[in-house]
């Protein structure tokens, strides 16, 4: 790993200043997306700016019809949160299924969302639940936030502060994990709420999270596993690797969608 300057700001202003202070600066939250790629020299930031000391980023707030999760909340914190379990149990369950126990203890929602790994779970939850990504300067709808492989709407010096999830009427997440990495091969979040029915898929496509319009349309008419079971997903644009080829992934998307609908009860 290439060495870097480490900054531990105590406020958002200090964090922004540090981020703007060096061209190769990057934010670090839990480090579970960033450090592994830095070890492989796939990322070589000159400066790391930690958000750990910035107050107010690790809280979960019950807003009544929505839940706001601070960017520095760990996956374990989200999974164990009474608020999340009460309002959006599917989100708590999804967080409980991320990585392994130690990853959940350190990895954060902000880090995961900002990294936008095509096999990460949170992008599917954000899109299916029609979440809003809150930054130091604006709010961005999840549909607009995720922009393909490792790409987001964030500006270079922009900091995610929270993610706001509207509480759905019902939602569930079904994931088929890569047996080695445990990342999603096909992860499907299905949610029905004020924004209608939304089906978001992670892990399968080279472009990252995507919605399945045909499933959403069918489920809007009849929210049942049978309704969605007949819908085949095209393998065009699907990722393909040794663990899962494109066709198998496409098939798994359909199966996971069906199981997520079943799990919605």
């Amino acid at each position: 790993m290439q060495d870097f300057n480490y900054h531990a700001p105590k406020s958002m202003d200090e964090a922004l200043a540090a981020l703007r202070g060096a061209e190769g600066a990057k934010l670090i939250a839990g480090g579970h997306s960033l450090l592994p790629v830095m070890k492989l020299n796939l990322a070589m930031p000159t400066d790391l700016v930690s958000l750990a000391g910035v107050p107010g980023l690790a809280e979960i707030a019950d807003d009544g019809d929505s839940v706001t999760v601070g960017a520095m909340c760990t996956h374990a914190q989200v999974a164990a949160s009474g608020v999340v379990q009460g309002r959006i149990p599917a989100l708590a369950a999804m967080a409980e299924g991320i990585g392994d126990a130690q990853v959940r203890n350190a990895g954060t929602i902000g880090g995961s969302v900002a990294h936008n790994d095509p096999a990460a779970d949170y992008p599917a939850a954000c899109v299916a639940l029609a979440a809003t990504i809150v930054t130091d300067r604006r709010e961005i709808a999840a549909d607009d936030f995720f922009q393909g492989l490792f790409a987001t709407a964030l500006a270079e010096d922009e900091v995610i502060t929270a993610v706001r999830f509207p509480a759905p009427d019902r939602a569930a997440y079904a994931k088929f994990a890569n047996p080695a990495s445990k990342y999603a091969v096909a992860g499907v979040m299905v949610a029905a709420g004020a924004d209608g029915v939304r089906v978001a898929v992670t892990g399968a496509s080279g472009d990252g999270v995507f919605r399945v319009a045909e499933m959403e349309a069918v489920l809007a008419g009849s929210f049942s596993a049978e309704a969605v079971a007949g819908i085949a997903v095209s393998s065009d644009g699907m990722l393909s690797d040794g663990a899962a080829g494109a066709e198998y992934r496409a098939h798994l998307v359909a199966v996971m969608a069906k199981r997520a609908v079943e799990a919605c009860g």
């Binding site: 290439q2 080695a180 990495s181 040794g242 199966v255």
Partner: protein
């Protein structure tokens, strides 16, 4: 053998655990020597390339760098040797190309060592290594057996036409052909034995030191066999005499065969330390371990079984092609031959067996022993074929096996082995009962109601462990003896140090061997310590592999204890004014037979070291060494049964039950033995369901980290149902056979037979290892057309 609370047969808690559980183990990477520098090995990123000048100026000028050495610098140093010379069918010796520690003219696999950079810190060494500019011309690579044997394939070595190392055979071909001519049925099968990456959780590491004042070299290394490393490194590579080269294998975090070979890095480090006169430390990163630890398995085979009308086996013909990788690792050549072909009688009376094995060089990591080494490959093929025969003949899978079991011992197989003892019916019956084989159809129906396809599979198998005897293996090409040494030193006050040439890297020798000695000598278990892993302390040793430690190493210790007792009798007789012939030794006391006159071992030991009143002509001291060269292999055997549930929608295979009934010979510590069985089962299940090393056509390793290579995790496995039926090995005094490899040998075919059993109603009749969800799903799709 008293079988008391800490004696033979007792599940004594391990001596090793106190240090491992408190973080006080001492693994190679935990060792730091004053003034040490750090080495980083630059490895080839290309599978096959000519290399020209290696420009090291920039690296040498980088901060903290002390030296950079390349293959050119090491010219004149010996190559890495291989330990077994195989002869081909036509009598010609195998092709044995040179293996320079640092590549000279060519690199031959991704991971091949190109240069070492030595610097003040690891980071400096690594950073500088990336400044090395290697002039290279990429050559076409062969990354698989199929590619290596193709017409006009690129050659890994010019001296190996067709990339063939040898074309070997065992058994009587004519007799086997004749058996097929008379057969009522012939059943054929094609199988691939998937390539595996060993993945001991401790990465390899080494620290070499050179003392210019004495000329002594010391190498701390993650080895299963330090004396073997000393022999190969000293005599063949660096030309150092044994007394100037000390090899220490301290606590080692798992081996599974991958820490048997003498590796190039050990030679590079030791040579570099000599050049610099300072200790040099190297720790392999996992990402490099994937492409430099020897791999295992990698066979393609076709076989046919001849049967009579009643299902009795008449003949077996096996043709195998094996991948040896880019260079011949220490035991690479004997694994697909003498640890493979000779297993094909299995537990069956097949009168005619023939096996031929053609081995190939490829541009991949060298292949060597991996838990089971050859025997899992043979057992997998045989047990898949027997299952297929049962299906094709419409016979019961259990009955076809039972019909062909060997029941008279000793039994001479048609492929060189003589089994001394066994009871295959007993382990079969035990396993069937423990697994509730008869109740399976009910479970199948219950699973079907949940939308799952449930299947059950069986494997009945033998192993050949504790490879021996030296004279025989020598005549077959082994370049080392296969005996073991054991020394027992009774100290003046009666405590005991035991020295073994085997090495413990998880097996619990410090406990098991102490149990044997404590039991035999009647001394407290806590008064016995076992020393291993240091060539300066141990007389000699061959190390630990092939499930040999108890049967061979334990026997050496047993014999040394007997010598101690014999000498003790002479001392006691003198003290008791009796004849040595009249002295009996029991429970730590030397007693004049028929009297209550006795001397304790402690009294005798003290007398031996303070010989004021002592037998004339007898040497003082109470320490004995025995070298034991076994008369035969040992033959553990057993039955494994696996039960799976397949999700037909996703292809996911859930392993729901694993039952083993094993005969591993005398059990010294049941707790440790069961632990060995569990670990072997997990390894075998990993091969059957999860693990697969894949190379791209250009020789790039596709499964180069834990993100791509699936290691068995806790949630992938059930708890295991372990059962024992013991028959004793007849040719060692402990009656021990071996247990370390049982699971990895026996269980893979049981798992795959279970998967096929589950899928057969869907029209699937074959599946390759590993039965990943994608592979199973594809097989179902294909069968459903």
């Amino acid at each position: 053998m008293s079988g008391n609370g800490t004696g033979i047969g007792a599940s004594v808690k391990r001596k090793e655990d106190a240090r491992f559980l408190t973080g006080r183990g001492r693994y190679t990477d935990d060792i730091n020597l004053p003034g040490q520098l750090y080495g980083y090995i630059l490895r080839s990123g290309m599978a096959h390339a000519k290399i020209g000048t290696v420009h090291t100026e920039a690296a040498k000028a980088a901060p903290g760098v002390h030296a950079v050495f390349t293959g050119k610098d090491m010219e004149g140093v010996g190559g890495i040797p291989t330990g077994w010379l195989i002869h081909s069918k036509d009598g010609s010796p195998m092709v044995e190309p040179p293996h320079p520690a640092l590549a000279t003219d060519k690199v031959r696999y991704v991971g091949d060592c190109v240069a070492i950079v030595v610097a003040e810190t690891k980071e400096q060494a690594r950073a500088a290594a990336h400044l090395i500019d290697v002039e290279r011309e990429e050559l076409p690579a062969v990354a698989s057996i199929e590619a290596a044997e193709a017409e006009g394939a690129p050659l890994v070595f010019d001296e190996a036409p067709g990339n063939v190392c040898y074309d070997w055979e065992v058994g009587d071909r004519a007799a086997t052909d004749a058996a097929f001519a008379d057969a009522a049925h012939v059943v054929s099968i094609d199988v691939v034995n998937n390539r595996l990456i060993p993945n001991a959780i401790e990465p390899r590491a080494a620290i070499a030191n050179y003392d210019p004042a004495t000329g002594d070299y010391t190498l701390y290394t993650t080895s299963q066999n330090p004396h073997l490393v000393r022999l190969l490194l000293g005599a063949f590579v660096l030309g150092l005499p044994e007394h100037k080269l000390r090899i220490v294998a301290p606590d080692v975090g798992g081996g599974f065969g991958s820490k048997i070979p003498h590796y190039a890095e050990e030679a590079i480090l030791t040579w570099t330390a000599g050049k610099l006169g300072r200790p040099v430390k190297w720790t392999c990163e996992r990402i490099d371990a994937f492409k430099s630890d020897t791999h295992g398995r990698d066979h393609i085979s076709t076989a046919k079984l001849a049967l009579d009308a009643d299902g009795k086996f008449l003949g077996l013909h096996v043709s195998t092609r094996a991948n040896l990788g880019a260079y011949l690792s220490t035991f690479a050549t004997c694994v697909p031959t003498y640890l493979y072909g000779i297993l094909f009688a299995g537990p069956y009376t097949t009168p005619a067996v023939y096996c031929e094995v053609k081995s190939f060089f490829t541009n991949t990591v060298p292949v060597d022993a991996l838990r089971g080494a050859g025997r899992p490959e043979a057992t997998y093929l045989l047990e898949r074929l027997v299952d297929k025969a049962a299906v094709e003949l419409g016979m019961d899978r259990v009955e076809i096996r039972r019909k062909n079991f060997i029941r008279e011992f000793p039994y001479q197989t048609p492929v060189a082995l003589q089994y001394d003892q066994g009871d295959y019916d007993a382990t079969l019956d035990l396993a069937l009962k423990a697994a509730d084989w008869d109740g399976f159809e009910g479970r199948r129906a219950e699973a079907a109601a949940r939308g799952k396809r449930r299947g059950i599979g069986i494997s009945t198998f033998i192993e050949a462990c504790g490879i021996a005897p030296s004279a025989v293996v020598g005549s077959l090409g082994a370049r080392a003896g296969l005996y073991e040494s054991g020394s027992v030193r009774v100290h003046p006050t009666g405590s005991v140090s035991v020295f073994t040439g085997t090495h413990s890297h998880g097996q619990g020798h410090e406990t098991t061997f102490a149990q044997i000695v404590s039991d035999m000598l009647g001394v407290d278990f806590d008064a016995v310590d076992v020393v291993h892993g240091d060539s300066a302390k141990i007389p000699f040793g061959m190390g630990t592999y092939g499930s040999r430690s108890l049967a061979v190493g334990g026997t050496a210790i047993y014999l040394a204890v007997e010598k101690v007792i014999e000498k003790g009798k002479k001392i006691a007789a003198h003290l008791l004014e009796a004849s040595a012939e009249d002295i009996e030794f029991k429970d730590g006391s030397f007693t004049v037979a028929g009297t209550d006159r006795s001397k304790s071992l402690g009294e005798v030991a003290l007398t031996a070291y303070v010989p004021h009143n002592y037998p004339a002509g007898l040497e003082p001291g109470l320490e004995e060494t025995a070298f034991y060269d076994p008369l035969n292999f040992t033959f553990p055997a057993g039955t494994h049964i696996a039960e799976v549930e397949v999700d037909p929608e996703t292809g996911e295979v859930e392993l729901v039950a694993v039952t083993g009934a094993d005969d591993v010979g005398r059990i010294i510590n049941p707790m440790i033995v069961d632990g060995q069985l569990h670990g072997g089962l997990a390894h075998g299940i990993g091969q059957a369901l999860l693990e697969e090393c894949r190379y791209q056509e250009d020789g790039q390793l596709e499964t180069g980290s834990y993100l791509e290579y699936t290691m068995p995790r806790a949630a992938d496995l059930p708890s295991f149902n372990i059962n024992h039926n013991t028959t004793l090995c007849t040719h060692n005094p402990l009656g021990a056979k071996g247990v370390g490899e049982v699971g990895s040998i026996g269980v893979p075919p049981a798992v795959i037979n279970a998967v096929i059993d589950a899928l057969r109603p869907l029209g699937v009749n074959d599946i390759s290892m590993p039965a990943t969800s994608q592979r199973v799903w594809q097989a179902i799709q294909q069968a459903q057309g």
